[in-house]
């Protein structure tokens, strides 16, 4: 394995719900330390794509490679090993509601990786500290704000030592005031060299982090390129129209 091997390569993913084809052959590659952002209108298949990459939604067609090795998702052990390497952050957090923040982070290392509890606790505390929640470890999800919940979910993913993180609109369910704290955590991850694939509508944030932006609509990647090009100088009319609209929104609200 050389450094040129993409950490994650997905090839020609297709997915239909009944007659509705939501993914029409999507391919992309993530290099180590790379940060790619997917933007595009709702219903364009962005979220489905991320769920497909983690096999949380079954794909109809396509192949997925981690470090050059194709993942055969029907082999249970291979699938769970793969998912440990690919962290997933959900739009609506999906914390385990019956566990406090610490145990949400702990459950993966203890129950999946079989790490001794004391060692895992040390690690979990460190991850919670990293996302700024050391003082909230004993709180339950219902006692945390949205921003805090999302940070716990990031800590939960990090505790599994992922090689890639998939973030599905991590801030779109949050109050505007709480977006900043989550962005800060993601930015720290980026600075730490984490490989990420991020779906977001926050174009300002996206352009400051991404080395490449994909514009996705109607189940396809319509255009891709560096942030400045996609956001301000896109070749495709539809990309330009979308970016100018959300750009205006972004400017007006900031």
């Amino acid at each position: 394995m050389t450094d040129q091997t993409p950490v994650l390569r997905i090839q020609n993913i297709e997915k239909s719900y009944g007659d509705n084809k939501v993914l029409k052959g999507v391919s992309l590659e993530l290099n180590r330390g790379g940060i790619k952002v997917i933007i595009g209108p709702s219903g364009g298949g962005k979220s489905t794509l991320l769920h497909c990459i983690n096999f949380l939604v079954g794909l109809d067609e396509g192949r997925i490679y981690l470090n050059g090795k194709e993942i055969v998702h029907t082999r249970k052990r291979e699938l769970t090993a793969y998912r440990q390497k690919v962290g997933m952050i959900f739009q609506d957090f999906n914390l385990f509601d019956h566990l406090n923040a610490l145990h949400n982070v702990l459950i993966g290392p203890v129950r999946v990786k079989k790490i001794p509890k004391s060692e895992a606790t040390e690690r979990a505390v460190a991850e919670l500290e990293r996302v700024g929640l050391r003082d909230h470890m004993t709180k339950y999800p219902a006692e945390l704000s949205g921003g805090q919940k999302q940070r716990v979910s990031i800590a939960r993913a990090l505790a599994m030592d992922p090689e890639v993180m998939l973030l599905d609109e991590p801030t779109s369910a949050l109050d505007p005031e709480l977006i900043g704290e989550v962005h800060e955590v993601i930015r720290d991850l980026a600075l730490g060299g984490m490989t990420m694939l991020l779906v977001t509508h926050e174009v300002g944030f996206a352009s400051s982090l991404a080395d490449e932006i994909f514009f996705m609509e109607d189940g396809k990647i319509v255009e891709q390129g560096p942030p400045q090009k996609i956001l301000f100088n896109a070749e495709c009319d539809r990309t330009r129209e979308f970016c100018s609209k959300i750009g205006r929104l972004h400017n007006n609200s900031s």
Binding site: H51, N94, F96, D97, I107, M160
Partner: protein, 222 residues
């Protein structure tokens, strides 16, 4: 009336002795019903079509046949033919437990289905196998949600347990009947039996309430 009180006071220890028999049958049936109910509910929610069908038939069978018929069928029919020698007491626990498992499986199934889909997705996303996700993420939540349903199930089994007197289990009703037929104080004796059941219902319901409060996840209002 005085006669009634005299009979009651003379026979009270004997009748009250039936409480431990009744409660053993009820608790035994609840525990058996819970263990089987968990397995059945998981099978029905996550199993393939054949498994789901099988559970469906099981539930239909045990919910559809009257308790007394099942008691006679098992005790005089099946076990006698197979020449298996089990006491009426044990047979009662098993039959009530099997029936309860059918009802409890539906309580737990409802609780599982009420959980957000994201819980299983999140568990899978950190690399949990489905089996682990069910044990560590789904069931702990579903079982908490099932407690109000169990309270109901307890009161039903408690009352159903009286039917086991027909096999000769010496629970509260059977003992009351012995006394009533010997003393002809039917009215007072059955008032007493009714009161004992009411009291057991009250205490059991309270205990379930305390349990519900104890295992409640903080921050959740229910």
């Amino acid at each position: 009336m005085l006669q009634g009180f005299i009979v009651i006071s003379e026979n009270l220890p004997y009748i009250l002795g039936g409480i431990s028999v009744t409660l053993t049958v009820v608790v035994g049936a609840l525990v058996l019903g819970l263990s089987l109910g968990i397995v059945l509910s998981v099978a029905q929610v996550y199993g393939n079509r054949v498994v789901q069908r099988t559970v469906g038939v099981y539930v239909w069978f045990f919910r559809g046949i009257p308790l007394l018929v099942l008691l006679f069928l098992f005790y005089f029919g099946i076990l006698a033919n197979l020449q298996i020698d089990l006491s009426p007491f044990i047979v009662s626990i098993i039959v009530l437990g099997l029936i309860s498992s059918a009802y409890q499986s539906q309580i737990i199934r409802g609780a599982i289905l009420s959980l957000p889909e994201g819980q299983l997705k999140a568990a899978r996303s950190i690399g949990m196998s489905d089996a682990r996700a069910i044990v560590f993420v789904i069931l702990p939540q579903a079982i908490r949600l099932s407690i109000p349903g169990w309270t109901n199930e307890y009161t039903i089994i408690l009352k159903d347990s009286a039917v086991t007197y027909a096999l000769g289990v010496t629970e509260i009703l059977a003992r009351s009947r012995h006394v009533a037929e010997r003393t002809y104080q039917h009215f007072w004796i059955y008032i007493l039996a009714g009161c004992i059941f009411l009291l057991l219902t009250y205490i059991g319901t309270k205990l379930f309430q305390i349990l519900e409060e104890k295992v409640r996840t903080p921050g959740y209002t229910q």
